[in-house]
Symmetry: D2
Subunit: 139 residues, 4 copies
Amino acid sequence: MGEARLAAQVEIEVPFQDVDLMQVVWHGNYFRYFEAARAALLRKINYDYPEMQASQYLWPIVELKARFVQPMRYAQRIQVRAELQEWESRLKIAYRVQDAASGKRLSSGYTIQCAVDARSGELQLVSPPVLRERLKEYL
Amino acid sequence: MGEARLAAQVEIEVPFQDVDLMQVVWHGNYFRYFEAARAALLRKINYDYPEMQASQYLWPIVELKARFVQPMRYAQRIQVRAELQEWESRLKIAYRVQDAASGKRLSSGYTIQCAVDARSGELQLVSPPVLRERLKEYL
Amino acid sequence: MGEARLAAQVEIEVPFQDVDLMQVVWHGNYFRYFEAARAALLRKINYDYPEMQASQYLWPIVELKARFVQPMRYAQRIQVRAELQEWESRLKIAYRVQDAASGKRLSSGYTIQCAVDARSGELQLVSPPVLRERLKEYL
Amino acid sequence: MGEARLAAQVEIEVPFQDVDLMQVVWHGNYFRYFEAARAALLRKINYDYPEMQASQYLWPIVELKARFVQPMRYAQRIQVRAELQEWESRLKIAYRVQDAASGKRLSSGYTIQCAVDARSGELQLVSPPVLRERLKEYL
């Protein structure tokens, strides 16, 4: 039972075009911020998209969930933290968004990715050795 | 205990710019399709965004979840069905996406919205009378 | 001197998430609508993105321009017309957006694409024979 | 004849979701990067969107143009420079995008905005005094 403590954080300023006519960030745009934090996390283990492709595994997102506690507005500075929560059979990453100035929690969520063999298209029920290798110093 | 049977469906063709470098629709873009189906549903009860604003209630999305069963590709025709699942204390709408040609299920999900008084900013623990009024022929 | 009369039109309803906090469509989102009209035009000659890739030519956009005459708002129905204007050395497509109800002109623009050989990466100074072949009934 | 030397630069990393199935940034997403540089420029004179709204003038974009010299790819670091070019009757801002590592020019463009009185909706043929006031140290 590996207990991973792999995490990463990015700071983002809410851009103009992500805010909707209700003056708050449209919910679909939160995944842009989650994506930035996930990329930062995966780069820590040298397994971002280009390395995934090179390893002959794709990692499509198969499930996600998000809770929106407080709305976010134009030019607000936010911190998005991604933390690895599961890796043995699938990659589950949890996110927490907070206001950069106050530290107040704004939203949270998770994404789940499964490995798919790029050649056969077959879903992997256990994470492939390449992921275990990349994670070894965090386990 | 009101049992709602309010539902709506839209047909969409996956546009070029929604597809990512892995050749599949990026997960954050699914909420564009859910949004289109939700608008179709809310228009059936004459309570889309302009009418929400006119009623002095905002309905921010406070939670969402999605499962991605099969990837979607450029120019694929999809059908997105939205169905009202809860309305008494919050608005829960469930979505199902299927391939238009084969009827095969591609993804599913839900969004939860809560009423907020536009003047006081107060969260409503019970849906306001205006929603009940709009829904009456479906209850 | 080929004179092309190839044109196509799509009708679109402005979606919620394309509208910014100023209550009008954010300028970068107009290219989503131009894209839909361009795809409709290119399908008329059976030369949309998949066929471009199959023909071993890429057609990146190298220049674009747009004028915004009247703003567009949530749920507005618009018609977007694309018309082929040049094809001999590059693909120039002009766009005109009008309100579906009133026919009033809302915006206009153009895009220019050049052929690039997918294998060598070389820019083509003359459009490749495959384009001429597809266009022949319109010239 | 005021000659303005107001400019600003931002550094951006190309995010995953901005790249299309051709493996390059979709042209409509360049305006996200122009927007970030324009916001940086307008903040230098304390006249970003919130201050525009407070001044009772809207500044919709009425024209834009862009040239794409080299494609941009996932995770590429780019620098986007915005420079004020005209301000007396309209706001013309020019953009230049270059690769952060090599300094190589990738694209360029401009946007033109006109002042509109927020109360009357009337287009202003001369920039309002508030803009001149904000710009005075740059003229």
